[in-house]
Symmetry: C2
Subunit: 345 residues, 2 copies
DNA sequence: TGTTAGCACTCACTTTTAACGAGTGCTAAT
DNA sequence: ATTAGCACTCGTTAAAAGTGAGTGCTAACA
């Protein structure tokens, strides 16, 4: 167990390093107002902290920097839930002053807000399609056998795809089919929609001996479209990465930016956050080589108890966890409130 | 006027520098198989070329590199329209083997293809909305006064927005209004659509004494949505920037990547390409400070003589113009062919 | 007259050496 | 238990020396 003094020193080191990005020496610490003991004492304590693996030195004659374990300890035990400043709280409220009634845009907006708030890069993972339920389906026949299919989920998410049929679909036939589909399929989870949709169309066709081509084409388009099944990822404040001193070296910066551009990789990385809390992963804890020098703060957002997606903040290991956590918590709430408004249950 | 030998030397310098990114010395050149004269002669010619401002030396004891004027001359006079290799031509055809019947996706796909083909970063400016004409308008009433409005242009572009009305819109009312709007508004350029739409709705309301709230809300949403009016920009191969030796320095890299992330700035930059040719801008010719070390190859794409958008390639000034131009020309044609298929005239 | 060989000169780049100083670990005194 | 003192470490910076690719100029050559 750590003594109070050791806690004080550890916190001071982490705080200082987060602020300056420079290794913290014993003399520097001894000059702080909340430190009453000498630099020699600090050196002794530092030696102990180092033995415990909480801090380390880049080289012999440098100050100490927090180790990953040190950050972990700091995050787990030393963070004060410093509440957001009054101005910021006010700003937060006004950010969502005029409702955004399209979830996609709301999510994008939120990503930007969070990055502005924290000066870190933000990732927002949109809702998984699978979990969502169908609210409404619309078929819009156009000229030349072109049909637009519009799909609205209960969360208010709208999506459209264009099909190309061999023969034109009459407006009447579309209307009848549509009515039938909406009757039978409303509330179907999107994960099951593909199958049921085809089944319904087949049944409809046998009953009305109507166009058959629609079936195969719709199958082609809707089913082969794998990538559309995964949620979208919105990024905010990519340029903030440039400001971090640890990423001044292109070799360090590159893997992070490259990863961020890869939707699939990010998706895999962000998805498996199961519990509902704030999750912080530091450096190697990310289990992703490109993020070995980064920390990620993640929060799940949900509406009516249904988990929808993830809000994440990505920065150097030396990131301002305090500010990050607080910002994400506060924005999360405002965000969820807005999301709920858009629900179409 | 330049002598044949000077042309040979200039071309050799540019070619070499494009390949190696190293200043080219007279001795290096004299060892080329197509150079029959000595390094001393080359030095004399180089001195002349330098006097003409076509090449320059980074410092006294280095080889020569092309000046912006040199690149300009190279691009204007020395590029051989080296046709694409047979394999590549075949590959190009197969790239669009299965048609993409949604323009948005087609454009995105094209951006990726072009960057893969050239190993440079690609920008594709989507069609301007203003120029496009309305093909079809659909109103989909949902629960709780939510209405999705779907808009299809004659180019096959589909767009949707969600409106929130104070009171619900009945399916019948929507259907009637929709029929009316489509009758009167089909073919309207989107730039004029906003105004005409409102007018039509007002007229419809007075004739049928129907919901009035729709008007104001639709106005709010459709009109205030400025940013949706500008075309989308798709990026491909952002990471390719990392491979260029001139951008190993974060200070050089940053402004370029930052600019690329800014939709508006790019829009302003890419738009004013009026003529239908391939346009190449080198370094300061870009008139954008962030691109002072970059060259941009642009090509307008059009369908049926109607200019739609821009295909652009961005790389260092030392970019492989030959390959870039050829790739963009060939892809442009394939792309336009695909686009034409999606037209709904 | 155009071309080439030769040579002194320039200058970025690399390596070497030296000086600096922030920081440490250890010891002895308080 | 705490602290003052001191030798030691080692990254950083600066200056000095050496290296080599490349140039410009001149004189000889075809």
């Amino acid at each position: 167990m750590l003594t109070d003094r050791q806690l004080l020193i550890l916190r001071a080191i982490v705080d200082d390093y987060i602020k300056t990005a420079q290794p913290v020496g014993s003399r520097t610490l001894s000059k702080r107002s909340d430190v009453t003991f000498s630099s020699a004492t600090i050196r002794n304590e530092m030696a102990d902290l180092e033995e415990m693996g909480l801090i380390e030195k880049p080289h012999t004659s440098a100050g100490r920097i927090p180790s990953e374990l040190g950050y972990r300890f700091y995050v787990d035990h030393l963070i004060r839930p410093e509440s957001i400043s009054p101005q910021e709280a006010k700003a937060l409220k006004s950010l969502f002053a005029h409702s955004v009634n399209e979830n996609d845009r709301l999510i994008r907006h939120t990503a930007d807000l969070l990055s502005e708030l924290t000066h870190y890069t933000t990732l927002v993972l949109g809702p998984k399609e699978e979990g969502q339920r169908l609210h409404h389906l619309e078929l819009i026949p156009l000229a030349e056998g072109r049909v637009v299919i519009v799909l609205v989920t209960e969360t208010g998410h709208v999506e459209h795809k264009t099909l190309q049929l061999a023969e034109a679909l009459s407006r009447e036939a579309a209307s009848r089919l549509m009515e039938r589909l909406n009757q039978t399929l409303r509330g179907t989870p999107l994960s099951m929609l593909r199958g049921r949709l085809l089944e319904e169309i087949r049944r409809f066709r046998s009953e009305h001996s109507e166009q058959t081509t629609l079936l195969s084409k719709a199958l082609d388009i809707v089913l082969t479209d794998q990538d559309e099944g995964r949620p979208l990822i919105y990024l905010g404040g990519k340029a903030n990465m440039f400001d971090q001193p640890e990423f001044q070296d292109v070799a360090k910066l590159r893997p992070v930016l490259e990863l961020i551009e890869q939707q699939e990789a990010l998706f895999d990385f962000l998805s498996p956050n199961l519990d509902n809390q704030i999750l912080i992963t530091i450096g190697s804890e990310n289990n992703v080589d490109a993020l070995k020098d980064c920390s990620v703060i993640r929060a799940h957002y949900s509406v009516d108890g249904i988990s929808l997606g993830t809000l994440a903040l990505i920065g150097p290991k030396r990131m301002d966890y305090n500010r990050g956590i607080n910002s994400i918590i506060h924005l999360l709430q405002a965000f969820q409130t807005e999301l709920r408004k858009n629900n179409l249950d």
